[in-house]
């Protein structure tokens, strides 16, 4: 896929959560296009619906109305099983917490998505070694995640998100609990690693640092998405 082609298109996307008494409309008519290789930062106040939107984009959750198209394929019409396969193949996630599987070593964590996608073992191991050396963590492959610092864990999480060369990386406050220097390290990776494969990155964040390195910034406000200026 060439840079600049639309990868994801949102058309009048609504999300309504049924709450205890009344319904809560979080997204009310989102229209947007995300292109191949671009890094987009979504800003918005806490509770504005950033995570909700990322979940819809990744096929984790379904919109209450409207349509989400991925390379022309409507993912809002896919059943649970297909959405799972869609995620497995096309999406990488980076969250603030719980990114890594605690019972797998760092190496195995990176191997995991490749394994799920049926990449053969030799090639997969080669890829993991390459990723680890890019991170400068080649010697930590056999460690379990709880032995790593928060920053190291997030760097591994970024590597895992791109390991199987997905078209889309979704990052939900990827640097939420990191200090400024560490945040910078992770951000560099998050910018550089997907770029090689023309992967689109969409990051929800409160952090001005993240926003400042984005190609494009959008604001989520009152349930709608607006380009900054």
């Amino acid at each position: 896929m060439a840079d600049g082609d639309p990868v994801i298109e949102l058309c009048e996307v609504h999300k309504i959560y049924p709450d205890a008494q009344r319904e809560r409309t979080v997204l009310r008519g989102i229209n947007a296009t995300f292109r191949g290789g671009e890094f987009v930062a979504i800003l918005g106040r806490s509770g504005s619906g950033k995570s909700t939107l990322l979940n819809l984009l990744g096929g984790i959750d379904l919109p209450s109305g409207g349509d989400i198209r991925f390379n022309g394929l409507s993912i809002s019409n896919l059943d649970e099983r297909r959405r799972t396969l869609f995620r497995r193949e096309h999406v990488g996630f980076v969250f603030q917490f719980f990114n890594l599987i605690p019972t797998l070593t760092v190496f195995e964590n990176l191997l995991f998505t490749l394994d799920l996608n049926g990449v053969d073992r030799a090639r997969a191991q080669c890829r993991v070694e390459q990723l680890l050396s890019q991170l400068g963590l080649s010697d930590r492959g056999d460690s379990f995640p709880d032995r790593l610092s928060g920053g190291e864990q997030q760097r591994i999480a970024v590597a895992r998100a791109v390991a199987h060369r997905p078209s889309l990386v979704l990052a939900d406050e990827p640097t939420g609990n990191l200090d400024r220097d560490t945040e910078q390290e992770v951000l560099t990776l998050l910018r550089a690693m997907p770029k090689r494969d023309h992967t689109t990155v969409i990051a929800a964040t409160h952090s001005p640092e993240v926003a400042s390195c984005a190609d494009r910034i959008v604001h989520l406000q009152d349930g709608t998405l607006n380009d900054a200026n």
């Binding site: 990744g58 984790i60 995620r87 497995r88 996630f93 719980f98």
Partner: protein, 837 residues
């Protein structure tokens, strides 16, 4: 695949939890396998000992209480030319020179020349004269001779119903297999006439075995038989005999399944808690594109790993346990049903396969719910523990309402008239399931009720403990239900045994009214009537009643006959369920009527004014039932008849025992001593006082329940292990929460108090919940299972001990389970727990 690696590491990361689950399922499987092996070994031993003599016999000619006239055999063989036939004399002897061991004596006809029975086959290498050339010649199995230290030839003294005799062991025989060897272990083989003399049955045969292959031959033989005999097919006779122990076996099997169900709750518990604790991890896997089916499979796989390891351990354990149980079961069979030599556990592949299948099946069923739970975890990272708890709490009402379904099924199975024993047990298991669904609601109620009390007694810690239980409801409800069920099982079975025991004790007090009982151990000629006359003439003797115990074999099974020569007064010792002593007596004494025991009435569906058919010397004859009496001596039931009636229909003057009633002013012990040293001197009779006989009866009763008690204890052990592991994992999971408490100034001691109060409270709740369920189980066992198994009426005796024990057990398990996490948490510096989460 890496997913499998995750599963395995999960198991290894919680080693004690995994190991305890394995132990739990292993014990459950072991109990099931052990009981099945034991039952199966008993069945095989029965079959073999049957076949040992009967061999390939298709039919038996059986007679009355004293067997058959041997003339019949000669007539059939000589006059009617029937050849595939061999006579059998069987009886019991004791070996006075060898610790008074019990042996069977089996008489064979050396000229029958059949190879169809193991006994006959074992003698095939000997010439017919080997038995006949020497007077009182006897054969022993080679192993038996070695065990008794007897060489060939040597002398063997035996004591039977026909008195003391000296036999000559002229040869040893060899069995074809180990199992056959077991059947021959305590057997002395002689010729027919020697056996007749030893057993006091001169001129009589126990039966004649025949091999009749075509129906015309069967009809022909049947036509030749005199009226006091009957031709029964081997299959129906064997079945009828085996039926006797069936209810006993079924009850043991059901108890063993209960142990497995408790083990199953353990797996369920472990897997459920483990899935709940891994919610975040599972959500991550889901976002990465792991499908719900794969998650389902991997959780099931984890459970299966535990299950398979447990089953493997359970097989070995089960075989070991069966060796322990065999002696207990053999004892009961010999006490209650028939004499049977069972010393070998025969390990049948089928028993093992059943155990394995049940163990694995139970594991898969137990893993179903947690595996579904795992597969339903949404791929959202916005995971909150409180979400789980909200879901758990909101499902409390739903579960409780759904409980109506299994409870209705249970009620139908238990209460619909005419239900089978199997339906009864199925009903019990449904009821337990329904209770498990109600347990969370009841748990909340108990916590609410104890809350004011706890907060007054322990202040802040007390209040927090109560909240801790309800706030981890997703975990605690499972654990409490499992513990409650396990404890209720022991409470229920305990109440049942106590009720049964007390009922029997009370019955014995009424039933055994005489002061002394004298009985002849053997059966044939029994007590000498002259001796009875002499006793009756002793000063101080008010009256004497005699009794004759005998059994009538027939194609339809075996009837236990109790013949008594009682006065109207002694007749009143019977406690009637239907009819009464006053109206039954005249017909019983003079009118050819019988009274039957409650189990007999139940098994044969007979009531007052119905008729029972018995084969008399002059052929089958109907007897009217004048009453149904309570009797706990035989679970198949007895038919009691007056001696006059008996003598009118059977030519059998023998008396098995007599009871002596003394004048009120006589010292019973002194009288017994003079009787023993006087009239009874040199006789083979056993004298027992009323107290001794009662004690002996209770001893047999307790022996009967020895297996039950072993199973009960094992079930409790499984439950305690389960609870221990579940409560521990619940507490250990809360490291972070406790670290926050510590960081905010909670002392280690307070933390310790909090954790143990919480687990203690859970134990207490389970104990309290176990009481109504235990009572229900007891009532179901007493009024439904026992009725459908044996037909007995039991009074319910509720003593506080079982309830107290149940609650104590549960609280103790709870406190114990809190100890380790409390110690560990109190020692951990808060910073460590806060960081490593």
């Amino acid at each position: 695949m890496i997913l499998a690696r995750i599963s395995m590491r999960n198991l290894i990361r919680h080693p004690w939890q995994s190991v305890l689950s394995i132990v739990g399922i292993a014990l459950g499987v072991a109990v099931v396998i052990a009981i099945d092996l034991t039952n199966d070994s008993a069945r095989r031993a029965f079959k073999l000992s049957n076949q040992m003599v009967a061999g390939q016999a298709t039919h038996h000619i059986i007679g009355g209480p004293t067997g058959l006239n041997e003339i019949l055999y000669r007539d059939l063989r000589v006059d009617h030319g029937i050849r595939d036939m061999w006579p059998v004399v069987e009886g019991r002897v004791r070996l006075p020179d060898h610790g008074d061991q019990r042996f069977s004596v089996i008489g064979v006809d050396p000229f029958a020349q059949t190879t169809h029975s193991a006994i006959y086959r074992s003698t095939r290498d000997l010439s017919p004269t080997e038995l006949l050339s020497v007077r009182n010649a006897a054969l022993l199995a080679q192993d038996t001779a070695r065990r008794l230290g007897l060489s060939v030839p040597s002398e063997l003294r035996v004591r039977g119903a026909g008195g003391r005799h000296r036999l000559r062991v002229t040869a040893t025989v060899q069995s074809d297999s180990a199992l056959e060897g077991q059947a021959l272990r305590t057997v002395v083989i002689t010729d027919i006439s020697t056996a007749q003399v030893i057993t006091g049955n001169v001129g009589r045969l126990t039966r004649i075995d025949l091999e009749l292959t075509d129906p015309t031959a069967v009809a022909r033989v049947r036509g030749l038989l005199p009226p006091d005999t009957e031709l029964a097919s081997s299959a129906s006779r064997g079945n009828a005999l085996q039926q006797m122990t069936r209810a006993f076996e079924v009850n043991l099997t059901a108890l063993s399944l209960l142990a497995l169900v408790v083990g199953m709750f353990l797996i369920y518990n472990t897997m459920t808690v483990s899935v709940l604790q891994r919610h975040a991890q599972i959500a991550t896997l889901r976002t990465l594109g792991v499908g719900n089916r794969e998650l389902f499979t991997s959780v099931t796989g984890e459970a299966l790993t535990l299950g398979v390891l447990g089953v493997l351990a359970g097989i070995g354990l089960g075989i070991a346990l069966s060796h322990q149980l065999l002696a207990l079961v053999a004892q009961t069979i010999n006490d209650l049903y028939f004499r049977l030599e069972i010393t070998q556990v025969s390990i049948s592949a089928l028993s093992l396969a059943k155990g394995i299948a049940l163990g694995i099946g139970a594991t898969v069923v137990a893993a179903l719910a947690p595996a579904l739970e795992a597969s339903r975890v949404p791929p959202q990272i916005t995971y909150t523990r409180s979400g789980q708890e909200t879901a758990a709490r909101s499902s409390v009402g739903r579960l409780a309402r759904f409980a109506i379904v299994p409870c209705t099924v249970a009620a139908a199975l238990l209460l619909l008239p005419g239900g089978s024993l199997f339906a009864g047990f199925a009903g019990l298991f449904f009821a337990i399931f329904g209770f498990a669904l109600l347990a969370p609601a009841l748990l909340l109620l108990i916590v609410r009720l104890t809350h004011p009390w706890l907060s007054r007694a322990l202040g802040l810690v007390g209040r927090m403990a109560g909240r801790g239980v309800t706030e981890s409801l997703s975990r605690t409800r499972v654990t409490v239900a499992a513990l409650a069920i396990a404890v209720s099982a022991t409470v229920g079975v305990g109440i049942m045994i106590t009720s049964f025991r007390t009922t029997v004790e009370h019955w014995l007090v009424n039933y055994l009214r005489a002061d002394l009982y004298v009985s002849a151990a053997g059966s044939a000629t029994g007590v000498d009537p002259n001796l009875i006359r002499r006793v009756s003439q002793l000063p101080g003797v008010k009256s004497i009643t005699t009794a004759r115990w005998t059994k009538l074999d027939g194609a339809g099974g075996r009837t236990q006959l109790f013949v008594l020569d009682a006065q109207a007064k002694a007749f009143e010792n019977f406690q009637f369920k239907h009819g009464n002593a006053a109206s039954a007596w005249p017909r019983f004494k003079a009118g050819d009527a019988v009274i039957v025991s409650e189990p007999y009435a139940y098994h044969h569906r007979r009531g007052v004014r119905d008729r029972v058919v018995l084969r008399t010397d002059s052929g089958a004859r109907e007897f009217e039932v004048a009453g149904v009496f309570y009797d706990y001596g035989s679970d198949r039931g007895v038919v009691a008849m007056h001696r006059d009636t008996y003598r009118r229909h059977w030519a059998d003057p023998a008396i098995s025992s007599f009871a002596v009633y003394l004048d009120a002013d006589i010292d019973v012990d002194r009288f017994a001593a003079t009787l023993q040293d006087g009239v009874l001197k040199d006789s083979e009779l056993t004298l027992r006082s009323n107290r001794q006989l009662r004690a002996l009866s209770m001893e047999i009763f307790d022996r009967t329940f020895a297996v039950t008690n072993v199973l009960r204890v094992l079930t409790v052990v499984i439950a305690v292990i389960g609870i221990f592991s579940a409560l521990m994992s619940i507490q250990l999971e809360r490291g972070r929460e406790f670290a926050v408490l510590r960081a905010n100034g909670f002392t280690p001691r307070q933390l310790w108090a909090l954790v143990t109060t919480e687990t203690g409270l859970l134990g207490f709740a389970a104990g309290v919940l176990a009481l109504p369920l235990g009572l229900f189980l007891a009532l179901a066992l007493i009024f439904i299972i026992n009725r459908r198994s044996f037909g007995w009426t039991m009074q319910v005796w509720l003593t506080p001990e079982h309830f107290v024990l149940g609650v104590t057990l549960a609280v103790a398990a709870g406190l114990l389970a809190g100890l380790y996490p409390a110690l560990r948490l109190a020692r951990t510096p808060p910073s460590f727990a806060l960081r490593h989460e």
